[in-house]
């Protein structure tokens, strides 16, 4: 993988990570607030909160799938070949 492609991948995965972390924080707040409301005897917010949390999880999943698509588009990750150390035993001698 050339350095430019590697950099592109890394920026993409880090951007997706930040987005998912933000979504996760919203979900944490939502879960806490819904639980507080439930324990206080307010049952009505539970349904909309569940629907909204599902939407946020779906967005997070979609973002993750986008990273997979980016990976497939840019080809497989190269692994090092050759070498003479014991960890590379079995490779063709150069």
């Amino acid at each position: 993988v050339n350095p430019l492609e590697r950099r592109r991948r890394r920026v993409a995965i880090e951007a997706v990570m930040v987005c998912i972390v933000v979504l996760l924080m919203v979900q944490m707040w939502l879960l806490t607030a819904t639980l507080e409301a439930y324990l206080a005897g307010h049952r009505d917010p539970a349904g909309p909160a569940f629907a909204f949390s599902l939407v946020l999880a779906a967005i997070a999943g979609t973002l993750y799938l986008l990273v997979g698509r980016l990976d497939r588009a840019s080809g497989p990750t190269e692994r090092p070949q050759g070498g003479s150390g014991p960890w590379m035993m079995g490779n063709e001698p150069r």
Binding site: V1, R6, R9, R10, I13, E14, V16, M17, I20, V21, L23, L24, Q27, M28, L30, L31, T34, L35, E36, A37, Y38, L39, A40, G41, H42, R43, D44, A46, G47, A49, F50, S53, L54, L56, A57, A60, G61, L63, Y64, V67, T77, E78, R79, P80, G82, G83, S84, G85, W87, M88, R94
Partner: protein, 169 residues
């Protein structure tokens, strides 16, 4: 021979490619975050299911908890209601009125006690104070009032007849 003559020998011999590994680690961590997100949604789903199941108000039993004459002004009587693992406190305020509440603090479930001198229910763990009139939070970290036990007084006998969950403060 190698295709990249500029690459140092140690780099060719070393089997770990740090940038690629860092990428894979980030990707695995992102996967973990997505699974956590799904877990949060499941948590919300669990609360929703509980809410659906709890739509109908539960029927509480009527239970005799003591006599008015045996509780002096400023004193309390402990009992369990509606189950044996639900500790409650029946208190008689200085003005003679009776009130009963769940004894579990709504913060972290420590047992609250009645401070007659200050006429308030106090939680010793984090200094949460509740009003003995209606159970509302007067001070401290508790997020909700104490659940109030509905009472029925028949002559000298005091009965617990239900639980009223407190609304958010």
């Amino acid at each position: 021979m190698t295709d990249k003559p500029d690459t140092p020998v140690w780099r060719e011999e070393f089997s770990v490619q740090a940038p690629e590994d860092a990428y894979v680690l980030r990707r695995q961590f992102t996967k973990f975050l997505v699974l956590t997100s799904l877990g949060m949604a499941c948590g919300n789903g669990w609360i929703w299911m509980r809410s659906l199941l709890a739509r109908e108000a539960p029927a509480y039993p009527e239970q005799a908890i003591g006599r008015v004459s045996e509780i002096a002004a400023g004193s309390v009587k402990l009992f369990s209601y509606p189950g044996p693992n639900d500790p409650c406190i029946l208190l008689r305020r200085p003005d003679g009125s009776l009130a009963a509440f769940s004894q579990k603090c709504t913060h972290l479930s420590c047992a609250v006690y009645y401070a007659a001198a200050r006429d308030r229910l106090e939680c010793p763990c984090h200094e949460g104070y509740f009003s003995p009139a209606d159970g509302r939070v007067l001070q401290g970290p508790p997020p909700r009032p104490l659940p109030r036990i509905a009472l029925r007084i028949d002559g000298d006998e005091v009965f617990a007849v239900g639980v009223e969950e407190g609304a958010a403060s």
